[in-house]
Homo-oligomer: 264 residues x 2
């Protein structure tokens, strides 16, 4: 049987210095490239977030709020350019480790509608994976059918990729251990949820929708809402802490690792 | 009436140091970015060649000969990565001049068949142009339906773009004055052809096909065969020397400039 695709999402907060604009975490990028190379997992597709590369520029120019005037054009272009710069660093580290990392630009083949993926040209990506390349995508500034501009998160890309390419597993590499019963960043006794069913995930999503608390899951709201589609599709999904060395390697190898597993 | 698109192709030999691997000609890139900015032409799409960035790597790994074995994978990825690096320099220079230059990766939305464009997802590119961005594409390492891998020239992209986007004009910026009656690099008395009809272009193409001389047009064989489609489509086409300051500016403004004009 042919191996099914593994999709690895690298959180922006892991690969960049969150509090310093346009500053990569080169140590983490190098270590993760090594873990990915050593796992020898194939076929593999990687998606990374923007962290301090994409977000500050996108905020300055109001890209997520859509196209309003010509003055945003250079800002939109700069936001994309910053993401390409981050992508180039990650691709370069992977190439140094002998991984055939192939940078692919989401804004070149995806168009969103109200911020959701609408047009998605699969052929180059699909052929790249089948040939043995490791596509490396990223959260990006997008052309949007209704709003003109939008920001497409790496989370949405990774989740949709897993569904469209019928992936066997989806690894969400964050800077926390996984989903907790409360926010681990404000509640030190917050207990990690080790296992979640699709139904429990959907309940959590509904709860987030109802609550006035901004994000009960500790910055995980976006992930929770994106992950229902791949989990419902049967993709084995795990959220784990990529800041801890060895976790991504273990998850890629299918070994036991601390995190939140979500399964249908 | 809405302005029709201008497509500007920047030759790899103009923007890189031809004889030094992976070396950009930063002086030329900066000057051309200024000329483009000052012209204020809109809508505009730019395509650039690979010069000493793309060609040496592509040759080393035999990318143009197609996919043969896994050992080529990293080479394919490195060839694309080098082109992204060159693209980033050009986009950066244009952004510095206030041009909303938006890097787009051909290998992310085009698939070739025997080296010719086959799948071409137009929607992101089309929306980018209509929004007022200046897409900057490049010759690239491609996934190919029959051969696995192929090299897609900037010339082919620029010519196809002009046809698909119904461009009003196509400017081929080379490092020679245009097409000559013999090779200006070996024959100092070679006379520049200032005007060419579509019929004459087709005759020249047939002559190139028959002759045993490698390239009677002084490295222009590729251009001549790509340009018949846009010229037949009614796109005003000119080949000019971008190494001479001011030529690209004049052509973008529609002013008189030395070169080879080709018209239906």
């Amino acid at each position: 049987m042919k191996n099914r695709l593994t999709v690895l999402k690298l959180g922006g907060s892991v690969i960049t210095e969150k509090d310093k604009d346009l500053t990569p975490n080169l140590q983490a990028i190098g270590r993760l490239a090594e873990e990915i190379s050593q796992s020898q997992v194939s076929p593999l597709a990687i998606v990374h977030g923007g962290g301090s590369f994409g977000h500050p520029l996108a905020r300055t120019y109001g890209i997520a709020e859509g196209f309003r005037d010509q003055a945003q054009l250079v800002g939109f272009a700069k936001t994309h350019d910053a993401m390409v710069a981050l992508n180039t660093l990650i691709v370069g580290s992977l190439l140094d480790q002998g991984v055939p990392a192939f940078g692919m630009a989401p804004s070149s083949f995806i168009v969103t509608k109200k911020g959701r993926i609408h047009v998605f040209e699969e052929e180059p990506l699909d052929r790249a994976i089948k040939t043995g390349l490791v596509p490396v995508l990223y959260g990006d500034a997008m052309l949007d059918i209704d709003r003109g501009f939008a920001i497409l998160s790496g989370d949405q890309i990774a989740a949709q990729l897993a569904v469209r390419m019928d992936a066997g597993s989806l690894i969400m590499a964050a800077d926390v251990d996984g989903l907790c019963e409360s926010d681990p960043k404000t509640d030190s006794s917050a207990r990690l949820i080790r296992h979640l069913t699709l139904r429990e995930l959907q309940e959590l999503k509904a709860k987030i929708g109802r609550t006035s608390v901004l994000d009960v899951t500790g910055g995980m709201m976006g992930k929770v809402s994106e992950l229902t589609a791949p989990v419902a599709h049967g993709v084995r999904t795990i959220i784990l802490n990529a800041s801890k060395p060895g976790n991504v390697y273990k998850a890629l190898k299918g070994e036991e690792v601390v995190g939140t597993r979500i399964e249908a």
